[in-house]
């Protein structure tokens, strides 16, 4: 196997897949850090985002990348709505109740997707897109978009969290909720902002997964475990950790084929998750929560 083959068929797909995981994992890590629970509907929220983009592509004839900003906003609004209607009611109850209710939300979202868009596999555009050759590297446009968009969204988020007033408020909530409340930070606004950001990123993850493969009602659910593995690997509560974790999980899944029988590829995320929890539960970058 030549170096260029290794890059083309193992590393490039790993990075693209890792970028998609990273977008989802950032949302998971934010919810975990600020609201202190595991959000199991994250995968299906990504599915919803992907199918909303499909609706825009089919009904309005927009290119997927043009639909992306609208889909991010729409899904963010849905996420805020879900929080207001369901999770808000459990805010003062034990967190496990919210975790379980998020599983219910996941099933509800999937059912809605199946009722509205049907159960068949669909794509944004029919036919094949053959890769272009960049000095031996075979890349598709959509793969380049995926990685660039991931970097842009995460850098933007990082700037927001470190520079803006509300970003600082979110970090304060994550570090010490009681102290943050005492210093006059508006809890409801921070919660809403958290959902806007994680819902939007989630939608982006779904759209890019759909762009790179196909749209299926189960697409997000099967991505949930790698996304959690990525969030924990990077250190829960660390945005840059989630990105690193996503990329590592994605590349590790693709590389696992070299050493393990290919049916164990799907177990790679499990293995990483287990080893990490045993060896270094705080994650690579010293997470703040676990």
């Amino acid at each position: 196997m030549t170096v260029i083959d290794f890059l083309n068929f193992y590393i490039v797909p790993g990075i693209v897949l890792g970028s998609i995981y990273a977008l989802g994992a950032v949302g998971i890590t934010l919810v975990f850090a600020i609201l202190r629970y595991a959000h199991l509907a994250h995968g299906d929220l990504a599915t919803l985002g992907a199918f909303l983009a499909l609706a825009m592509v089919q009904l309005l004839g927009m290119p997927v990348m043009a639909a992306l900003p609208f889909v991010i906003l729409l899904t963010a609004a849905v996420a805020v709505g879900i929080d207001r209607v369901f999770y808000d009611a459990f805010r003062e109850r034990p967190k496990i109740i919210t975790v379980m209710s998020s599983l219910g939300i996941a099933l509800m979202i999937r059912a809605i997707v199946q009722v509205v868009w049907g159960v068949d596999t669909q794509t944004y555009s029919r036919g094949l897109v053959r890769p272009e050759d960049y000095f031996g590297l075979r890349l598709r446009d959509r793969e380049i978009y995926t990685v660039i968009a991931m970097i842009a969204l995460v850098v933007g988020l990082q700037m927001f969290l470190s520079r803006s007033k509300w970003g600082k408020a979110m970090r304060a909530m994550s570090d010490n909720p009681n102290l943050a409340l005492l210093s006059g930070i508006d809890n409801r606004k921070v919660v809403m902002l958290t959902w806007v950001i994680s819902g939007g990123l989630c939608a982006a993850a779904g759209v890019f997964l759909g762009l790179n493969t196909e749209l299926k009602p189960m697409m997000g659910w099967s991505m949930l475990l790698p996304m959690f593995a990525a969030a924990i690997l990077g250190g829960v509560g660390r945005v840059e950790g989630a990105v690193l974790g996503g990329l590592i999980v994605g590349i590790a899944e693709e590389l696992s084929v070299l050493v393990l029988p290919s049916e164990y590829k799907a177990a790679m995320a499990f293995a990483i998750l287990l080893v990490m929890l045993l060896v270094r539960p705080t994650g690579l970058l010293r997470g703040k929560v676990l």
Binding site: P13, T121, R138, K216, E254, V257
Partner: protein, 401 residues
């Protein structure tokens, strides 16, 4: 006092038992299908043909003294867990007297082992093709109207050899369907002197299979055989293989003969893609079925519609023979399919079959997919054809021997 309570409880129990039988004006039959999941595009046509059989039964006198046959539809989602859930609901809550389905092998094995066999309910699957289903310890209650993949895998191996493909790479989905088919194929292909350059399982529902494909391509063969579902990971794999040019020729089995690859990848890109699938033997019965099925808006060439119809019709015949008693349905099914020279019954001839059963005469059901005479494991032999992708979907290319 205690005796009085007991007596009251006893009479109440008897009363409920009585109303139970008296209210049983309808006979329920479970249709379990992979409505969601990796065969979602195939399931609607299969359910439509099963429903057509039920409609015909009810239009021609129903079961017993005019009781209606009522369908209870469940989603087995093509996986063992949902298959068990759907079967449990149908058997324990809806009280069906027989199950038609589930559609996928893994779901069939799970539903049979944990629900149908313990409850003594007869199960006929129209599309569960894994060789493992033959080995179930089922007290003769699990049947299928579709041949085991042991036949299909071997027939496909011989056909590819005959087409001049001497070396192939095999990728199969890691479940009962994929591994059963792949192992049968491998044994026969190698026995005929073919060379398998790579043989690897994969998990479904992953976002990327490029590294799997790169591993498969290392063996140097230009043909990839995919035993997977055309709405699931089989489609993802086919797309990525075509886009990156890992192989020249692609071969699938019945699971890949779905409309999804044509719809999503385009027929023009699938010029080197062929699939095998079971086909009905040409017969009067098949023509009758095809005409009736077209009238209700179905496509008689769709995969597994003939076997779905036959499974439902056979189940109805067995229920009629058993007098609606669910404990006797499996035995009745064996009885009505045991004679090959009884009065011939074609698709749609419910009234005639009903009379003959009432008179206690032997019948032979000449179904849309063939005449049914189950072997000891509840299996039937099959006829297969190779299909290629033409301008109007899948076109038959050659018969398989």
């Amino acid at each position: 006092m205690n005796k009085k309570v007991l007596a009251l409880a006893g009479s109440l129990l008897a009363a409920t038992a009585l109303t139970g039988t008296a209210a049983q004006a309808d006979v329920k039959i479970g249709l379990l299908g992979g409505i969601t999941g990796p065969i979602a595009a195939m399931a609607p046509a299969m359910l439509l043909s099963a429903e057509m059989a039920i409609t015909e039964v009810n239009a021609q006198g129903g079961i017993g003294k005019g009781e209606k046959l009522v369908q209870v539809t469940g989603d087995s989602a093509c996986n063992p867990q949902n298959g068990t859930d759907a079967a449990t609901k149908a058997v324990n809550i809806d009280g069906v007297v027989g199950l038609v389905g589930p559609h996928c092998s893994g779901a069939v094995i799970a539903a049979a082992n944990s629900v149908a066999i313990p409850a003594g309910i007869a199960l006929i699957t129209p599309s569960g093709t894994s060789p493992e289903i033959s080995n179930l310890k089922d007290n003769d209650s699990v049947f299928r109207t579709v041949p085991s993949d042991d036949y299909q895998g071997r027939a496909l191996a011989r056909s590819l050899k005959a087409q001049g493909m001497d070396s192939v790479a095999v990728a199969y989905l890691n479940n009962d369907y994929g591994s059963g088919l792949a192992n049968a194929f491998k044994a026969e292909f190698e026995a005929n002197g073919g060379k398998i350059t790579a043989f690897a399982a994969h998990e479904g529902e992953k976002a990327s299979y490029r590294s799997n494909l790169a591993e498969l391509a290392k063996g140097g063969s230009d043909t990839l055989v995919i035993f997977d579902y055309g709405d699931g990971s089989g489609l993802t794999m086919l797309r990525e293989a075509l886009e990156n040019g890992f192989f020249k020729n692609y071969v699938g089995a019945d699971g890949m003969k779905s409309d999804a690859p044509i719809k999503e990848l385009g027929a023009n890109n699938l010029g080197t893609f062929i699939t095998s699938a079971p086909v009905g033997e040409k017969s009067d019965s098949l023509e009758v079925f095809a005409k009736n099925f077209k009238d209700v808006g179905g496509d008689p060439d769709a995969v597994f519609v003939t076997t779905s119809y036959d499974a439902t019709f056979l189940m109805a015949l067995a229920i009629e023979k058993a007098g609606g008693d669910k404990t006797k349905v499996a035995k009745a099914l064996r009885e009505i399919t045991s004679s090959t020279d009884g009065e011939a019954i074609k698709p749609g001839e419910w009234a005639k079959a009903k009379e003959l059963i009432a008179a206690g005469k032997p019948i032979t059901y000449k179904g849309a997919a063939g005449t049914y005479n189950f072997d000891a494991a509840g299996d039937v032999p099959g006829v297969y054809a190779l299909f290629k992708v033409g301008a109007n979907g899948f076109e038959k290319m050659a018969d398989m021997k």
